[in-house]
Symmetry: C2
Subunit: 173 residues, 2 copies
């Protein structure tokens, strides 16, 4: 078992091919540029089709988004919009199932859902979460079980866990 | 679907119970206190039994670890050690299977492994990854498929994805 470096890593990872899932992210009022930059890096890694930066979400150009995101905002399609709910509605009209990552009253554990091919994942503000208005536009809410004292993970961490799970329940090999 | 707040969130999340998996983390030379703090927060969320901070890993007391980790270094057992490989060997003697999160020559996608109950997850330095010496002490190496341009995720993001996956392949409900 040897470490791989440089071109060997590139060759090794190329074998992954393209993900079967068609995923998009809607970030509603994600204020911290670190979270937005990390979301771009995760989006690049997971073949996300588009990111919508809604409301007061931090957006490019921004040195932190470029740094944390390793410049992936230049590769992943994105746009800003005023209302997350309108973006969610547009995706639903295009056949996406809209899943809010939020501890809402009817939320289900993220790993118990049978995801369709087209999923729109919605995350909310670092303090206030996904707003009621945005929730009302979603098909369902999912959450990550928390077995400890702290009641949440960082927005980008939760987004990465849910995204990889969806990718690999659809792309098992 | 209504947002939950305060005590409702606590009650809601309490239903998760305790994870079946017995997991420990070994951080080898993880220099960035943000990654170490995030690892503590993830460890708390996932019921990790212990964290070993090896080599030049940042360690408490540290304001960034306390802040990013939300004080979880006071809840999750941890200790420092000089050599990650020695910590890994001790865990293996105690019945843990040691999985390095590293793009090594024989690495397999993280979601294709049948994990046992006791797993030791090892992550490495932000730039140099898991060292050859540490790799030699591990049972296997796993990696996250990367479908984009950037060849890696942040250490703590990759750790969270692998950890939640292991938890929920063992604790499916």
């Amino acid at each position: 078992m040897k470490q791989l470096r440089g071109k060997s890593v590139k060759r090794f990872l190329k074998a992954a091919g393209a993900p079967a899932a068609e995923l998009v992210f809607v970030l509603q009022d994600v204020e911290d540029a670190v979270n937005v930059g990390a979301a771009f890096r995760i989006a690049d890694a997971c073949g996300i089709r588009e990111i919508v930066l809604a409301g007061i979400s931090a957006h490019p150009p921004h040195p932190t988004i470029a740094g944390v995101g390793r410049g992936t905002h230049r590769r992943v399609p994105w746009h800003t919009t005023k209302y997350a709910a309108s973006a969610v509605e547009k995706y639903r009209e295009a056949g996406y199932v809209a899943c809010a990552l939020e501890v809402a009253s009817d939320a289900v554990p993220y790993h118990t859902v049978a995801y369709p091919k087209k999923v729109c994942l919605i995350v909310g503000n670092e303090y206030r979460g996904v707003s009621q208005r945005t929730l009302d536009a979603c098909d369902l809410a999912i959450y990550l079980p928390m077995y400890g004292k702290v009641r949440s993970l960082n927005v980008h961490v939760a987004l990465a866990v849910a995204t990889y799970h969806i990718l690999h329940t659809q792309n098992p090999q």
